[in-house]
Symmetry: C2
Subunit: 232 residues, 2 copies
């Protein structure tokens, strides 16, 4: 089934079966950090982690390097690594970047739309609609459904660099914030309508409109969060 764990083209190694130990460590640690099993801001001890995963420090360090360039941990020379600290400012920054990139992705998806992509998008929307009616506004489908939507739009952009930047880099940070600040936005129903309009624009091949709608969609989420942040 289509969910947020799906694999990107660019993430090929995972498909290929043969993955190194360092690869597996990386994937495992990334999951632990994103889902909050490693507390944000906590220190990471290489020897301890290596023992826990029954691997050598060398392989573990390789995984840590990658987490570092993903921005999920921070390393200081001769001092060590810590899980990155979450902040309201960081979250808002993330939304500004997403607005720019996903807006562009949406425009490109509309301009290069292929029948296959369109079919998938329509199908996805239908699934979400059923799920929405089922749960009548309880806003429960959100996390996966919303993720699914944004993920697929980006895939349809047909721009490898854009896909890689969003799906293999930024989205892990997005999910980390979601898990830990538990943003189950109350915008479920409205969000669904917005998704629907965006896909219509893509179907119509109207890149400019598609971009505008996507940007507005993301910015609405952003203000929603900004409001919550300032009131706490």
């Amino acid at each position: 089934m289509a969910n947020a764990e799906q694999v990107t083209k660019a993430d090929g190694k995972a498909l290929q079966g043969t993955q190194s130990l360092a690869d597996r460590l990386f994937l495992s640690l990334r999951k632990d950090i994103v889902e909050g099993r490693m507390a944000a801001g906590s220190k990471i001890s290489e020897p301890e982690l290596a023992r826990r995963f029954d691997a050598s420090r060398g392989s573990l360090r390789e995984a840590l390097m990658r987490l570092d360039s993903l921005g999920l941990i921070e390393r200081k020379v001769n001092v060590g690594a810590r899980v990155v600290e979450l902040s309201g400012r960081g979250l808002l920054e993330l939304y500004d970047v997403r607005e720019a990139l996903e807006g562009m992705a949406c425009r490109l998806a509309a301009e290069n739309r292929s029948e296959a992509d369109l079919a998938e998008l329509r199908q996805m929307l239908e699934r979400h609609e059923q799920q929405e009616e089922l749960q009548a506004g309880t806003a429960y489908y959100q996390p996966e459904g919303d993720f699914d939507f944004h993920f697929r739009i980006v895939q349809a952009s047909n721009n490898e660099l854009l896909i890689d930047t969003l799906c293999n880099k930024l989205y892990y940070r997005v999910r980390m914030y979601r898990y830990q600040l538990g943003m189950a936005s109350p915008r479920a129903h409205r969000a669904f309508r917005e998704h629907s309009h965006i896909i219509e624009a893509i179907e119509a091949g109207d890149g400019e409109l598609a971009e505008i709608l996507m940007r507005r969609h993301i910015r609405a989420s952003r203000s929603n969060i900004a409001k919550k942040l300032s009131s706490s």
Copy 2:
């Protein structure tokens, strides 16, 4: 002097004096790849490179990992690493991403403009103007001047994630293309006027206009390249 080699906030390690051997290898290799001393598409032999730099394979591999996540090399498990291959498509993709991100950076720079940033921007423009008059349309100042301009705008956006993504990641790819495809665009004079207008919009605090102008500026470069590519 302000040039493209300047150090980003996020690239702090380089400032701090203490940098590990792997850090130095990384910086050195990145330079070699960007400036074309390692041919695009060529295979990288770990033992050979390690000998050449008089370092152990472990440290070298750490540097390679980082180059990989920068997208400057590609690694396959149990096979090895190659310098990334340049392609027309890749270059155009890069411009689409830049259009999105730098457009946003420009908007943010206009909205958050500080006196310090404005002063620097004006000062830079003045330097470029002098240089332009000096060389009266020979379009020679371009590479550094253009880079300087885009770099500083992004810095002024005050969005750490955006700054990191552009200055520490994408720009190295941009420079790699510049060096190797030798894009000394003939748009020097027009580009200068465009830069000038963009900074005016930022000074005026008009984020929307600043974004539009920057996007148009980058898209003009992009079509220029697309034309050259299709005619070859």
